[in-house]
């Protein structure tokens, strides 16, 4: 909140600088010192919470309880990985880590094909009610998935599925479907129609066109949806809390909420657990940022 006024103030001097330019440059890489300072300040503010967490997660109990993490440079010899082994072995974070993968992988990859078929149909096939059906998919994007929790608990209860992985897999497949269709259809709409037409003239069936042409051409969009869905499922707390609950099959997001109760043991363990929940999403994000951004902009920005 504190940086709001800063950014507004900073826009003025750089704007003046820009006006001075005689020739127009659409991307004037001419940040004034104030712009740089403001951005540096914002970036520092943005990084501090995460850095504090990472630093504290390798400090000892005594250190983390009696001094701020920013004093760490005074006692580098005291750093330890014990918090991680404690969190992994004794606080069930290790098992939860495996559970998170076991939940996220099927919930990420299974919906892709199903959504791709639907998106193909919405993009390349003519049929009655197409627009209405697609608009209803778009509308579903905003329905809170809370609505599903109570009714599905009953159905799962009757089927004896509560607390099992398939319960969450199916739920995430259902919840992710609208976004998947939306992203894929928007992408497919940008594919050159002539190629698909010529395949049709050559006698290819829809199934062949889909499988041989459209699916391979849509890989970037498939990748961006996969990243979204993976991050969403990995980071989810509510669905896991309701359908799986604490215990044997809990994912990391749930396991770390037990750790936070152990305040008597200090922040070192909590921060180690917190970092364990964050490390996979951050790695996925850093490695695949390009696709992630493309997926975000595909839905919202034309062209």
């Amino acid at each position: 909140m504190t940086s709001v006024p800063d950014t507004q103030v900073a826009a003025i001097p750089t704007a003046k600088q820009r006006k001075k330019m005689s020739t127009f440059d659409s991307n004037p890489a001419n940040a004034g010192w104030l712009t740089k300072l403001v951005l540096l300040l914002i970036c520092t503010l943005w990084l501090i919470p995460t850095v504090g967490t990472v630093v504290t997660s390798v400090r000892t109990l005594d250190d983390s309880n009696t001094s701020g993490w920013w004093t760490v440079l005074g006692g580098l010899g005291n750093l330890t990985m014990d918090n991680y082994s404690e969190a992994i072995n004794n606080a069930n974070m290790g098992g939860a880590f495996v559970n998170s993968f076991a939940i996220a992988l099927p919930a990420t990859f299974i919906p892709i094909l199903i959504a791709a078929f639907a998106a193909y149909s919405f993009t390349f096939m003519e049929f009655k009610g197409r627009d209405v059906l697609f608009l209803s998919v778009v509308a579903m994007l905003v329905v809170p998935n809370y609505v599903a929790l109570v009714p599905m608990l009953k159905i799962y209860g009757a089927l004896g599925m509560n607390g099992t992985f398939p319960a969450v897999w199916l739920a995430h497949i259902g919840f992710g479907m609208s976004l998947a269709i939306y992203i894929l259809r928007n992408y497919m709409a940008t594919l050159p129609k002539t190629i698909i037409e010529s395949a049709k003239i050559d006698g290819a069936s829809h199934f062949q066109t889909f499988y041989r042409l459209v699916l391979p051409m849509s890989v970037p969009a498939l990748a961006s949806f996969a990243i979204f869905q993976f991050l969403w499922v990995w980071n989810d707390l509510l669905v896991a809390l309701v359908f799986i609950g604490p215990g044997e099959n809990e994912p990391v997001t749930l396991a770390v909420t037990h750790l936070r109760g152990q305040l008597g043991q200090g922040w070192n363990l909590t921060t180690a657990g917190g970092f364990l929940t964050m490390v996979v999403p951050i790695l996925v994000f850093l490695a695949l940022q390009r696709y992630f951004v493309r997926g975000l902009t595909a839905g919202a920005v034309k062209g």
């Binding site: 909140m1 709001v4 950014t7 507004q8 900073a10 704007a15 003046k16 006006k19 127009f24 712009t35 943005w46 919470p49 995460t50 504090g52 967490t53 504290t56 701020g68 993490w69 098992g95 990859f109 919906p111 094909l113 199903i114 078929f117 149909s121 049929f127 608009l135 509308a139 579903m140 109570v150 608990l153 009953k154 799962y156 209860g157 509560n162 398939p166 259902g174 919840f175 479907m177 998947a180 069936s205 829809h206 980071n235 604490p246 997001t253 770390v256 909420t257 037990h258 936070r260 109760g261 922040w267 921060t271 999403p281 996925v284 940022q289 975000l296 902009t297 920005v301 034309k302 062209g303």
Partner: protein
Amino acid sequence: VWDAQSRIPGDLVPGVLVPTARRPGKEGVTDMKLLSALLTVVAGIGAALLLYWLLNKLAELMPSKWEERIKPFFYILPAYLAIALYLIYPALQTIVASFQDATSDTFIGLENYTNLLSNHGFQQTLFNTLLWILIVPAATVVLGLGVAVLSDRLKSGGEKLTKTIIFMPMAISAVGAATVWRFVYAAQPEGQPQIGILNAVVTKLGGSPVAWLQQSDFHLNSIMLMIVLLWAQVGFAMVLLSAAIKGVPADTLEAARIDGAAERQIFFQVVVPQIKGTIITVFITVTIAVMKIFDIVYVMTNGNFNTNVLGNEFYNQLNTNFNNGAAAAIVVMLMIAVLPVMVYQVRHFKDEEAAA
């Protein structure tokens, strides 16, 4: 009566710890879990392929006139079934349950709604949710736009680094973010060294340490929670808005400049109107996320100290009060609140399609 009641133990209440049972031979079990997950991926994709192949064959068996008509629906069917089962059917069920009692056995009319709405605590919850909706989306757009415009002026390396730093929290779960920020807000009694950085700054400046998450005056603690969401979401706004700004045709800027417009005028009268569509998209997306906000509040305060919001109250009604009816009524209220946004979203989408 549903199964879940029996398997939610007390360790979800903040501050209470139930040690997790240690199981012998855990490694074997976890290996099996991963293996079965991978097998499920393969089996699931295989089954889906087989299903479509069968549906396709079935369509081809029909007379060709029918084949062309029925095929699109076959392709849509599985996806639509998933949506129908997990969103449409539950939505209808929830509406029914909201008129029923705690165990969904008998109809009690509007009692859930009147009970909730006349309850002072729930009114506070509604007000808090409204505060989130009023503050967070607008602040996200303003901050995101600010960072997008400023970082646009950096050289490409600096721009990339800045954007990655601002964007990264979006990959972190709300639970992770809440853990991180609870530590930022941590308070020690006066006189002891502060380990939360915010209180360290406050005491360094001569103030007394503040238990930030317990200060409900002027909803300070709610605002502290909102900052966590802002931290996580500004990057999202920045990425979308930055892409939109870069897409503004250079000649429109140049024309305005030749006409002698000041930079600030150009920004508000040339750039902003052209990225209006994206601004609206960001605003809507964040608004919907804020209406549903749950994890951050649940992990950081569990709604205590007057920070409760609808999402958290829903969860408490479900798993602390075991009141199905009240939980359903909360979701229905949420859906009613989302309805105008939904209508707007569909209209907005149609306009964008028409413009494309």
